[in-house]
């Protein structure tokens, strides 16, 4: 069964209760991977991060170093990917 390495940062780490884990999956898209990840509140990570099929603006997902656009959750996974989930810190700023 294919598997991806999940690294969860910040708020998503706290949702999932782990920071890094190898996760096997059957159906091979990012969306399905997120649906298979159960969070501490009993919902899936998908339900926490996705609204009306699009990634919420305050979260980001990086697959093999490339940040997904909000409508790219159906990106297929082959196995072996490095997937990073994170909350975007709205207050990270300055200039």
């Amino acid at each position: 069964m294919p598997a991806a390495n999940i690294s969860a940062l910040g708020a998503t780490r706290k949702m999932l209760g782990f920071s890094r884990r190898r996760v096997e999956f059957e159906r091979a898209t990012v969306a399905e991977l997120l649906r298979g990840l159960e969070t501490l509140d009993g919902r899936s990570l998908y339900d926490n991060l996705v609204c009306e099929g699009r990634l919420r603006g305050d979260f980001a997902i990086v697959v093999n170093g490339l940040s997904l656009k909000s409508d790219q959750l159906n990106k297929p996974l082959q196995g072996g990917e490095e997937v990073v989930t994170m909350a975007i810190l709205r207050h990270l700023h300055g200039g």
């Binding site: 940062l9 890094r20 207050h91």
Partner: protein, 815 residues
Amino acid sequence: MCLHGCGILVQVRDGVALKIEGDPTNPDNLGKLCPKGNAGLARLYDSTRVLKPMKRTNPLKGPGVDPKWVDISWEEAYGIVARELGKVRADDPRKLLCAIGDFQRIVLWGWPAVFGSPNFFTSLGNYCGGSYHPVNGSVDGSFAAINDYDRCNYWIQIGSGDGFSSHLHLSGSAKRMADARMRGMRVVTLDPRMSVAAAKADEWIPTLPGTDRAFVLGMAHVLIHELKRFDRKFLRDRTNAPYLVQDDGYLLRDEEGRAMVWDTRLGASQPWNAVAPADIALEGAYEFAGKRVRTGFQVWADVLLDHTPERMSEICTVPAETMRRIAREFVEAAQIGATVEIEGKTYPFRPAALNYYRGSQSHANGLFDNLTYKLFNMLVGNIDVPGGHLGVPLDHRGFFIHEGDDGVLKPEPHQLHPAPAFKYPPDSTHLMEWFPIGFDAGQLNTETLLEPERFGLNYSPEAMMLYHSNPLWNLPETDKVEKIMARMKFVVAIDIQRTESTEWADVFLPDHTYLESYLLNCLEPPAVTGHSLRQPVVKPVGDTKDAYEILTEIAERLGFRDDWNDLLNIVCGFTANPKYLLDPEKRYGVEELWDRYGRSIYGDDKGLEWFKEHGHAVRYRTPEETYLPYGKLRIPFYFEFIQRVGADMKEKFEQVGLKNWPLDNYQPLPFWKNSQVIEDGKAGYQFYAITFKESLHTFADTVVMPWLSEVSEKETVHGGILVNPVTAEKLGIGTGTWIRLTSPAGSIEGQAQVVEGIHPEVFGVSNAITRHFVTNDRQKKKGSHFNRLLTGSMLYTDSATGGLESSARVRVERI
């Protein structure tokens, strides 16, 4: 001591640093150093440095009040800080106000965010980059910009010290500028004062502060309406200038949402990508469904119809004929239509460009200033091509390049933080939620913190962190800043030396100097890319610590070190290569952090040890990285998105019942518009006042360094408040006469210095004259604190970008 991190070599004997020299192997600074770089030892060994943690024992706070510092242990210092900030965080983390001015270690800027506070401002960026960076990011995904030193032949310099005295990587840029002038490049400098850039130019054109845009708008009028010479092919094929605009300001789109252009062959509008380039109309007004549509280019051409040199001359005082002559010289030097082959690839060649920075665009209409200069460059097709005006990326990652709508590069006004979403009541005291295309308008704290109810703020900060920041010196309206700081129940300072602001702190945590600490630095590199290593050359002189270690320890004690690690994972870019991710459960030392950082970018074999041996990984940017790095994507000429954002903000403000918030600068194209400074002139403030800096100093921070202040003393321009002889005679002023400048915000006093090199309507105040809190006698009472003349309110703030007006109108009197 500045942002850019030149490569240096340090002679050390018996553990003592003796001399600093430029690293000749580093292509960033080419072995050169500015005065600050040479004077680094004067900071390392400054006898007034804070070398141990201190706590205040005098509960009274105020200007000139002695804190009665006593040395304490790090353990006691951390204990106090954790206790006091812990109370704030438990109550409401927004109540921590953070002023951060360490522009080299910007990876640490996220600390307030993981604390939970939106209230981080630099107290500096709002002057320089408030409007500049958003426009660079919106045009080509760059962070800054500079003309092509290697290939430019005609360089117009407006309100900038680039290549002469300041801004991007000065040490190397000065060499590049000198080389360009030696090969014959002509420099024309527009500035109210005979700056270094003006003194060394072929021609200095004095103008009034904040009116540079009028000069350039006048020249744009000449190119379009008088000479009718501009790069039609560039504008048509490489920008959205041919896209059709309706009279409501929005682009004409088809049912599928595609922007339309006018097909000259069919005589009809068509989607932008359905017409052969040669058939696309760049100019003209047309009819669509009974309504007028014009190309974006035509809209600006129509705007410029009444921006004649004569009318613009009345605003900026530059003779109309000078505008015409410079415009003609510029377009001739641009060689429109020429190409050049570089490493086997053919590029457009436009060896004429207009460069600008703080002095010409740090004004209340700064958005229009920046847009004007970009559009003027676009008229000759010189953006990001050899010889022209080149984008400079934020760091080693290069331009922000994403395809946006209609084949146009996606505007990236925000590169240091995500675009803030509108919120009411606002979370941040500087109202970042109300500037969706702007930076942090830190100056607004002077209004919001004293009258929070006016802005809907439902809390007030009670604690402050000062991290290499001196808001009492850098923010406008010092009296108000004092009131704000007086309200703070607790202030912690992380700094190297005592300043006007740290004297209000309760605890002082002393940081290493750059000669005692680690950093891999790459920020705003103009001709090169890659990191230079900062590493300890001597053991710490005192009981000081690296700011990273300090912030990490506080995070640890407050229980958010895991989030701090995750924040660093994001800002250091470790998410792109997860094997370098910091474990949230583990604490990392500063060497481990930079070791991972180096390896994550350059590969496993280039960690900290590699950098210690080699010093840097800096190389020249390739032609592909430098010229047209976004390929076939167009860049915006008509900034519809700015208008759209403004309309969206208007709707949101109306929804929450805020009807008077200014939104008038959300315009798709620039034009002349009077600022409050012009209006102040009508109210009897007859003269202008400006401040300026030379290569000696950064942010007035270095003024306290004895070596540099000694050099400053020998320069006439730092000897007092500059005034032109003609004006001096009219006012009965001579060199040494004490005078008072009074603006709508406040007054300053100082001794006049009569010099030829300043516009007769302008008074100039060097940033090198003085500091109120002195650590050596050389700064005492030599001059004035210019920022007291400035106002931090929205009247003096660009309503779209939050950029601050940095000139003032003043009355002048002898005292």
